[in-house]
Subunit: 324 residues, 2 copies
């Protein structure tokens, strides 16, 4: 199997590549389990510290057609397209968001179409495609009404991928990811960055700002669960995707207050008290437009899974990234 991963140097990209290397093989679009012989790990800044001989690290601008053309060829079996500009960044810089989140996806799909080889294609979509008046629990028939440019771009990608798949240009699967917590490292420009920050920073002995109200409900998934679902999404046979190529994933529905309670349960009161409530209307507007709970019957029928409880998610984070 020859695999391309875009956004390889990102948090999910790196963990996905590690998981793929450990797994060693994947199912191609003809249903054949084949060893992974090559992973092209592409990102703007080259991925560091991955010295497996199967990994070929490439850096470059994903909005450059020549760069895109160098990433795939007739031997490419599978593409994990994770590269994206995060939500607040796409909101702050409209042109950048459109170029990276939408146009680059469209151009990569075009290059795939012109190859005529119909590779598997797994990408991450977002709950940010939803907005407006929403039921407490969103089902698979809920209309898309993005309230951000990020959500708009992700929804356009979903439509494109579905049509390219219907026409047989690609064997696509777009997974609507919940907010991933707990991310390691530093805060980023995602509107949801705080959701990891309010767990991670207190565990590391630092103060953390929560910009949304305690009763804000979030739809969550742990990094390990996200990687498992990305690989599961790849392994599914295309014939099983009769109800569509865009799949709302199952997840864990928690209020910010419940998240903080779980942190208190795992790490104690002193740690939980490092969170400061300081509402930010811009963040509240974006995050408040996302649904906090999904029924996700299609994904569940396809065997996608959710975390069972948030305290385990926190404990796993502490194990994976021990507090300094």
């Amino acid at each position: 199997m020859n695999i391309l991963v875009t956004g390889a140097a990102g948090f999910l990209g790196r963990r996905l590549i590690e998981a793929l290397l450990q797994l060693g093989s994947l199912t191609d679009r003809h249903g054949q389990l084949r060893p992974i012989s090559r992973i092209i790990a592409f990102d703007r800044e080259p991925l560091q510290g991955m010295d497996d001989p199967r990994v070929q690290v490439k850096g470059g601008d994903i909005t450059d057609d020549q760069v895109l053309a160098s990433l795939i060829d007739a031997d490419t079996d599978s593409i994990f397209h994770l590269a994206a500009v995060v939500s607040s960044q796409a909101e702050g810089d409209f042109e950048l968001g459109m170029r990276v989140n939408f146009s680059a996806t469209q151009r990569l799909l075009e290059q795939v179409r012109l190859l005529g080889t119909c590779p598997k294609w797994v990408m991450t979509s977002s709950v940010a495609v939803f907005g407006g008046a929403l039921p407490d629990t969103v089902d698979d028939d809920q209309v898309w009404a993005p309230q951000s440019s990020y959500g708009t771009q992700k929804a356009m990608n979903d439509l494109l991928l579905a049509d390219y798949s219907r026409r047989g240009f690609v064997d696509g699967r777009s997974l609507r990811m919940p907010t991933i917590v707990v991310r390691p490292g530093k805060p980023n420009l995602a509107a949801s960055s705080f959701a990891s920050g309010i767990i991670r920073e207190p565990l590391n002995g630092q103060a953390s700002v929560c910009p949304v109200a305690l009763d804000t409900r979030l739809w969550l998934m742990s990094p390990a669960q996200a990687i498992a679902n990305l690989i599961h999404g790849h392994e599914l046979a295309g014939e099983r995707l009769g109800k569509g190529r865009v799949i709302n994933l199952p997840g864990l529905s928690l209020t910010v207050e419940q998240m903080i309670d779980a942190l208190r349960e795992v790490a104690g009161d002193e740690v939980a008290q490092r969170i400061q409530m300081r509402p930010d209307p811009a963040i509240e507007r974006i995050v408040g437009s996302w649904p906090g709970s999904f029924s996700a019957p299609y994904a569940q029928a396809l065997g996608f899974t959710a975390d069972k409880e948030f305290v385990s998610v926190i404990r796993q984070f502490i194990q994976d990234y021990p507090p300094r």
Copy 2:
């Protein structure tokens, strides 16, 4: 008011321009009623036979950025964007459909954004954005699941327009049009072309083929009603569009059998017998994926209207385009 109409030489475009000239004035985005001083009537082939001094006819390729740039300037108050490749054509030629239906819309929106003048923008979307398992009557919250490239392209336009409007780049309104019947002239490459054909051809003494089953339910609107709704959509103040810029229009829900019964009622049995049932699986697949009925509460609250009964639609057609 300086107005641009794309797709001006099409059936709806021509009728819209005639209606605008007769109306004489429109409301600008500041709520001011102003006389129409100029209509740029743009299409691939220049519009013929419209000799009002306010109309400036232009021909050219809508996928050419230089052509697009010549159509709008800082004085452009309103854009009616109707240009499109029809559904079966977009299905048959993927590249053409993407270029005309989506990319040209995106580029025209970009040019508008760079002008920074936030003109009004009215465009036609389609029931073809829906598909898959659908309730008998589709409400405003129904997810989009296009089963054709045409529907995909229209849905992507809808998403773009909503985001451009939210950001204040344009004051947009996208109207999800029912199938327009009865169109005059010749059959075209729209999958829905037969819906006019089974009325128009028999009235003109010709045989007509119906490619779908008698119980196929269609969502219909007369040309006069479509023009009235396009103008109504323009005249609405942007502040009233809080529930979104993409609006499912009300319409008339009829089976093909009910349409033929109405033709028989208006024109007699001999005329109705000129229709031959000859199923075409390709057409049935596309048309069968469209909803046959909508509740459209948002559009109705905004004052959009539907035809009352189909026999009047047929009688109006006979009056507007007397049988030869």
